[in-house]
């Protein structure tokens, strides 16, 4: 059976099937990207109404985006050229241009990969007064000490906390019951694990179940009309408590935790431990601050009283601690534990001419920030305009040329923010702000279209010969349809480039 109008156009509509199909599909794609653009517009306009949120501008590398735009436009030209070569019935030339298109797509995606990974390595911290610092080399290790009691959610327990125990894993004793004086009756000392918890759950549930059945029998004996309730899981045990046979401490990256409080910590599997934060990990450490943004800060005069200035230049204790090798021998050579996020490459990038003195670096950073701010204000005064709010309180503090003294200032100040003053921290992923959220969603979806489109075009180039020999017009039609999709992908990028990179 043959479908009519697969190759030849239908006389009254003038179209062959696939062409109708692809335009309908593109119509739905217009609505898809339209929805996302509408989301972008919403977030961007909406951000203007937020007192503590400013739309990031110019945070992406324009050269990267520019090159990618050029590549995609060129590939679009290549696609039509390839299609015309097929119309000229020249398969080899078609193949050449088509492979060039796929090659362009490859470069585009690789570029995108570089851009993404740069974002993943860049961090920001929002302090409790809403000032923001950004930089590289995060260390969010947190250590809790003096832990004895463990509370476990039976249904969800995955033994997560056991992996982060610092030193030997202690043995645990189950809290069987609590007597009238509030003293716990403890069970045998065991190794805690998912299986062990399961076994205890089973044992407890068995005894609860027997009790339940017995009470059913009893009630029945008293009252023959009594409707026995069968045993249901909801009657079983839900929480278990354990006491360690010695105090222990845990060390883990903060972001892997569900919640952390000064006196307790909760894991993702709902296990909670009681303990205190170690003095070695008093806060969140960022190794090299490269931008400070005080636009949204609550302090009266951000130039002096922002929390950033208070914490800038403080070093992580844990880092020094580990460097001296005085910590546990087990963890001394375990880099992941020694100083999480401590990036040697970052260290090498540092300008050697600057001796690494955090206090001096911090002072330099402040000088840069205030100096640049002074310049902006000065300029505005001269032009009798209001100073650009965005520029006065938001600068890079990595490098700056002091116009007055002609001196180039550089800084690599670290910052250590106490846990209680960290409002939010993240790398530059959707979590950091809505700009990155829409950026990743839009470009990710677009990248997916590029990938799928390239795969289809590659298929035409590699396996198209057979169909071409059989029915060149059919092959030409297919390539035209693939090309239409490719142009649409290009068209979307034409809009993405200015709205994400330039404006």
């Amino acid at each position: 059976m043959e479908i009519p109008f697969e190759v030849k156009p239908r006389p009254d509509t003038g179209l062959w099937n696939a062409k109708v199909g692809i335009w309908l599909f593109l119509a739905s794609e217009v609505m898809l990207f339209g929805g996302l653009f509408s989301g972008y517009l919403f977030l961007r306009l909406g951000s203007a109404g937020e007192a503590d949120y400013f739309w990031p501008q110019g945070v992406l590398s324009v050269p990267f985006g520019f090159v990618n735009t050029l590549i995609l436009i060129l590939s679009s030209v290549f696609v039509v050229v390839a299609w015309l070569q097929l119309k000229l019935r020249n398969f080899e030339k078609f193949r050449f241009w088509m492979i060039l298109v796929v090659f362009c797509a490859g470069i585009f995606l690789v570029n995108k990969g570089f851009e993404y990974s740069a974002k993943f390595k860049h961090y920001g911290i929002k302090l409790s007064d809403n000032s923001i610092v950004e930089g590289h080399g995060i260390d969010d290790t947190i250590r809790y000490e003096g832990i004895k009691k463990v509370n476990v959610d039976v249904g969800r327990f995955e033994g997560e906390f056991l992996e982060s125990v610092h030193g030997d894993t202690p043995k645990f004793r189950e809290v069987m019951s609590v007597d009238a004086d509030g003293k716990s009756v403890l069970g045998d000392s065991i190794e805690l694990s998912e299986n062990a918890v399961k076994k205890i759950e089973e044992r407890r549930n068995n005894s609860l179940r027997e009790k339940h059945l017995a009470s059913n029998e009893e009630a029945k004996a008293k009252d023959s009309d009594f409707n026995a309730i069968r045993w249901l899981p909801a009657m079983g045990v839900k929480q278990l408590s354990f006491v360690a046979d010695k105090e222990f401490s845990i060390e883990i990256k903060r972001k892997k935790l569900r919640k952390s409080f000064p006196d307790s910590v909760k894991f993702r599997d709902q296990t909670s431990l009681k303990g205190t934060i170690s003095k070695l990990t008093p806060g969140l450490y960022l190794q090299a601050v490269d931008r400070i943004d005080l636009r949204a800060t609550d302090s009266e005069d951000p130039e002096t009283s922002s929390l950033v200035w208070k914490y800038l230049g403080k070093e992580s204790l844990l880092k020094g601690h580990s460097d001296q090798g005085s910590s546990d021998a087990n963890h001394g050579d375990d880099k992941d534990h020694a100083a999480i996020g401590y990036n040697e490459d970052e260290q090498k990038v540092k300008d050697d001419s600057h001796p690494h003195d955090p206090k001096k670096e911090a002072a330099m950073a402040k000088k840069i920030f205030l100096g640049a701010r002074e310049n902006v204000l000065q300029e505005a005064k001269e032009n009798k305009k209001e100073a650009d709010f965005g520029k006065t309180l938001n600068h890079s503090v990595l490098k700056w040329k002091d116009d007055k003294e002609g001196e180039v200032l550089k800084s690599h100040a670290p910052i250590l923010v106490p846990w209680e003053d960290v409002k939010l921290y993240s790398n530059f992923t959707p979590k950091w702000n809505t700009y990155y959220a829409i950026y990743f969603t839009l470009t990710g979806l677009h990248g997916l279209h590029v990938l799928l489109g390239a795969l289809v075009l590659l298929y035409f180039a590699v396996f198209g010969r057979k169909l071409f020999d059989k029915d060149p017009e059919h092959m030409t039609n297919r390539v035209e349809v693939g090309g239409l999709f490719w142009h649409f992908v290009d068209l979307v990028w034409i809009f993405l480039f200015p709205i994400l990179y330039l404006m």
Partner: protein, 101 residues
């Protein structure tokens, strides 16, 4: 649509020309953005580029009527979708507040 080899080669020249125009427009956008980050100019150039791609590369300059019908219908709602943003702006929770600065 052109189907003789000569006309196809003529088309090919046209496509290359459009390609160069698009590249030049891209450079222009970047240059303009350096001078003034104007949203209107940026989107204006992007619209011109998108128009070229749609009209020339996607042959919308001479297409069958039924495709125009489908697209007009679509574009109407796509624009409507943009207004959705404005509707959502009526959210009292995110109503603009006077900034301290």
């Amino acid at each position: 649509m052109a189907d003789t080899p000569e006309e196809i080669l003529k088309d090919m020249k046209k496509y290359w020309r459009v390609g160069w125009i698009l590249l030049a427009c891209t450079a222009l956008t970047v240059a303009v953005a350096k001078v003034t980050p104007s949203v209107i100019i940026g989107l204006g150039i992007a619209t011109v580029k998108a128009g070229l791609v749609a009209l020339i590369f996607m042959h919308l300059s001479h297409e069958k009527s039924i495709i125009y019908k489908v697209l007009i219908y679509t574009v109407f709602f796509a624009i409507g979708l943009m207004f959705l943003t404005l509707l959502a702006m009526y959210d009292p929770i995110i109503a603009p507040v006077n900034r301290a600065y």
